[in-house]
Symmetry: C2
Subunit: 235 residues, 2 copies
DNA sequence: CAACAAATTTCGGTATACCAAAATTTTGAC
DNA sequence: GTCAAAATTTTGGTATACCGAAATTTGTTG
């Protein structure tokens, strides 16, 4: 892990905190506080914040504290729309260009999913899911494509995660991925687009449900102090 | 123009220099030199470099000077592939969602293109072209989509520009755009995908030609000092 | 003259200092 | 007690200082 640059490491840490919900949407990320907390100076932390901003996890406001992004339903829907197109293209290109070894690697990941389904927790399952989609982008042999694919995956990470822990069932998680690999084995571009479409359409619905719920909760305690973990009592 | 942040302004300046060829592919961008030259400190210039790096115009190398990206043919082909998919999606969504006013605005741009074709230079024509594609992304009413569309447009800006000044003819520049607007007027998603496909397929060929040529030239004087405008004499 | 090694310079990465704009708190008037 | 205005603190933006790693130059040796 030490082979990454310091800003990248800091970004990883912050990303985890955001995605796991330690830093909740709307909270401000103060440069000094977080820099001190992590034992680094403001400079690399600042850079880390920019990284997460381009990933869409943090929202920069000129001359104000950056805040953890509060994705609207429309925004999430838009992002799913893009992810859908990007992943369909990846699948299509992978049908043309993937090596047999790469297809086997994808199949391996799905097998792992199936094997471990009942023994691991949602976070671990989710990380496997992420690795599957990353491997698919790799198999398309188009680096910039893999790059934006990664960007949108991480933008939707938290939403997907929240959706995943609610709608956890073997059929969705395993079968849909199996369909994708099967289509890839057959080098069937039409089938893979369809499989990915089904996969993400379901995802979109799940996400919308979860976010709608979260927004409802958020407006319930809208006046909480947003830079403290605990809600302080009013004196 | 003063309403932008300082790093953004610096990035704009550098971007222009790169796209116009003042900073040629392979040249190193030293923080101190450029900061002094532009009368700012290293901090905002550093940030500007990161911005351009995410746009793909600059390549960061750990512990080394960043260099102006030297896109390979494969890389450009990959980027065109992505741009194609992104713009097709934009067109499709625009067919569903564009307001009549937005369609009119697009048509207006094409009209301007046609009117001014014989009187303005390649750079100006190109900027109009860029504004057309940006407006199309806007009409799709999907902000993250417009964002990555912009990213890939700027990554391909220089290549497209080089291609444009070589293959300049009214039929390509005007007719193709007209087809796109017509399809949009008809709200015909299939037609607009086709029109965009034709447009960018031609573009891809042109770019490949130009870049092949540029690479050939570059290897001819491969040993030039890459951080000076003029080739210094060896003593 | 060539080649390798040591000294020097250059340069990116990080930390720190300073400033101006925002936000917050305090204070004073009504 | 309330509200507004002023003083204070907080915070992001920028400049500068410092460090260690790379690259370059210089010097030495065969």
């Amino acid at each position: 892990m030490a082979d990454q640059t310091l800003p990248a490491q800091i970004a990883n840490q912050l990303r985890r905190d955001i995605l796991r919900g330690v830093l909740r949407p709307g909270m401000s990320i103060k440069e000094r506080d977080n820099a001190d907390k992590m034992g680094v100076s403001r400079t690399p932390l600042r850079e880390a914040i920019r990284i997460l901003a381009t990933e869409g996890l943090i929202e920069l406001r000129p001359a104000r504290s950056p805040i953890v992004s509060i994705p609207s339903i429309k925004q999430i829907a838009d992002e799913v729309e893009v992810l859908l197109a990007v992943e369909k293209l990846s699948g299509e290109l992978a049908c043309e260009r993937a090596t047999d070894a790469e297809v086997d690697a994808l199949a391996e990941i799905v097998q792992t999913m199936s094997d471990k389904f009942d023994t691991i927790d949602a976070v671990e399952m989710f990380e496997i899911d992420m690795s599957f989609h990353a491997a698919l982008a790799q198999a398309a042999h188009n680096e910039p494509l893999a790059e934006i694919h990664g960007t949108f995956l991480s933008r939707l990470w938290r939403s997907r995660f929240l959706a995943a822990i609610q709608r956890r069932n073997r059929e969705r998680v395993v079968d849909h991925h199996t369909h994708i690999v099967d289509a890839l084995r057959d080098r069937d571009a039409v089938a893979i687009r369809a499989a990915i479409g089904v996969h993400l359409d379901h995802l979109a619905e799940d996400i919308i449900d979860v976010i709608t719920q979260e927004i409802a909760e958020a407006s319930a305690d809208a006046d909480r102090k947003d830079d403290h973990e605990t809600t302080p009592l009013r004196t």
